[in-house]
């Protein structure tokens, strides 16, 4: 059994209350006994029980993070930003991955509630809204990241996907492309839709028509799915000259399929990604993509939550706060001017 403040009390000949106060830095206790107690505590290797403390103070100093999958390098970098902010404020992270599984989602929400997490950050774009509201209803401060799907969440931070997609589209248009396709991920909900809409909006602005056959969706963002989708576009009688992929993972698979099929990128086909994950710099050719400020997104979402925890007393239902971060176009070598074929 771990040692408690009572053990320290016995050892120093004072009451456990005095020990509690001394270690808590309460100025009521004389400096002399205070330092003596602290010394003994250190010698005995005392570690306070988070459970007991939480029970009494009604706060855990833990914030929960719900994420789609830890495998996804995109989320990893967001997590990194969250952890930095949390750690600095003395908070620990309780991370759970939903794996797109509703049953798992429910279990996660339940666990968060049982653990009495001080707040929750939802980074999963596909996380079901009712489960999120379940947290809100139980009084948990919630910050949603890249989850514009529902306006019921009062605190959110997200990347401007519409703008990002427009930037990419403008880039391709400027290179002379008009036959531009979009490869989406039906599982990522609003995020994919926003990117599609940004593309459409910019095309309309430029007075270009969009071929409905150029819009294709797959059920996830595994590179393998990107790879498989090349078939679809190649079977079109009128092929696109450029393709905007929902994210880097799909683009990486897509590029690979191009190489295998002898389609030269960017000469035959320009390809863009989205997110700028580490590996997008190492593809062949290096991927033109939209650099999303992943670390900042994570960091600021954590800061927003922390701020929320500070003024917990006020009614958070009446306040709204929404922060939008913009990414920037990162031109590498997977896009080029349109070269006439044959």
């Amino acid at each position: 059994m771990a040692i408690t403040i009572k053990d320290i009390a016995k050892r120093t000949g004072v009451s456990h209350s005095t020990v509690s106060r001394a270690l808590g830095g309460n100025s009521l206790i004389s400096e002399a006994t205070s330092t003596r107690i602290r010394k003994v505590a250190r010698e005995m290797g005392y570690q306070p029980s988070a459970a007991a403390r939480s029970l009494k103070t009604n706060q855990t100093k833990v914030i929960g993070v719900i994420v789609n999958s830890i495998d996804d390098p995109f989320f990893s970098e967001i997590l990194f930003g969250i952890e930095d902010a949390a750690q600095q404020a003395g908070y620990s992270l309780f991370i759970a991955a939903s794996q797109y599984d509703p049953i798992r989602e429910q279990k996660i929400v339940q666990t968060m509630m049982e653990q009495r997490t001080d707040g929750v950050i939802i980074c999963s774009s596909s996380f079901s809204a009712d489960k999120g509201r379940q947290l809100l209803a139980n009084g948990f401060p919630v910050v949603v990241v890249n989850y514009k799907a529902n306006e019921n969440f009062n605190y959110s931070i997200y990347h401007d996907d519409l703008d990002g997609s427009q930037q990419l589209t403008r880039h391709l248009l400027a290179l002379g492309h008009t036959k531009i396709a979009y490869l989406g991920n039906s599982k990522s909900g609003r995020t994919s839709l926003d990117r599609l809409n940004g593309f459409k909006k910019e095309m309309r602005k430029a007075g270009e028509k969009i071929n409905p056959a150029y819009i294709y969706e797959v059920g996830g963002s595994d590179p393998a799915l990107g790879k498989e989708s090349l078939h679809y576009f190649m079977n079109l009688s009128d092929r696109p000259t450029a393709i905007i992929c929902f994210n880097d993972m799909l683009a990486i698979g897509f590029l690979h399929a191009c190489r295998q099929s002898g389609i030269r990128v960017p000469d035959d086909l320009s390809v863009t990604g989205f997110d700028n994950i580490t590996f997008s710099a190492y593809t062949s050719p290096p991927l033109t993509t939209l650099d999303q400020p992943k670390y900042s997104i994570g960091n600021e979402s954590a800061q927003l939550l922390l701020e929320l925890l500070g003024k917990k007393i006020e009614n958070q239902n009446n306040t709204h706060k929404e922060k939008v971060l913009k990414g920037s176009l990162l031109v590498r070598n997977s896009t080029s001017t349109l070269t006439p074929k044959e």
Copy 2:
């Protein structure tokens, strides 16, 4: 404030002990009241307090996981295996990333102890041994993963890096290579050393000499470091014809540098990786690597820990258990027979 069993007791007109027993499935309580209580509990949206329960039962149903960095896709897949096993047994994960920072490591250990984690899995090959022992000394069951550095940890599970490296070396030798180099990661300690030794051992077995200049180490496993290291090998008067990289990340960067420098892989130079992370299948050319059973490593380490928690009473210091998993050679297109130059 969240509702408690006392609230349920008041509502149903019984004592809080009866509620506790009813929800705990104690057969002492009559079936009638039991179901009635359960129904009310559900209606009121009761969520037990993990803190209070832990305090009383002295177990948290949480296992701590210490990892180098969440960014690393290699660790991500191990985490996946751990989570599956843990979830199935009703345990949650408390994940912390050390980021190779000693101060952070100390904080993590302290947090784990304060949280009274039921057990700890250390997945960080570079995690300092004394901090691990600190956990052991405080009675925490510990399982180390890929951490052969010190035999003081009684429960460990690791991949046979020596064997894996030998498999790769044999593969290259069979292709006719004799001028083989090794690109290591000085930060990963024993792991890198084992892979180096596997390489040396197999070379010796084949009667081949190793050029000391062919062994080069960098301080990490970021692809950028792999990319930079090409310079070194190209400046050698007698260049190697094949190179074994410590892991896929380095190999991916290395391949990229080759492409930029006009070095044809595998015609001019054969390159191998290690781990088989997702992206190694999408490089150009696809990477020959050693497929490490990452999921299994994670899963079995969690199972080992769970087993350990079951027979907690016995003195774990007297028992040893070590499990070794072997990976398998995965030949793709970054290696080929030696073709005479010019």
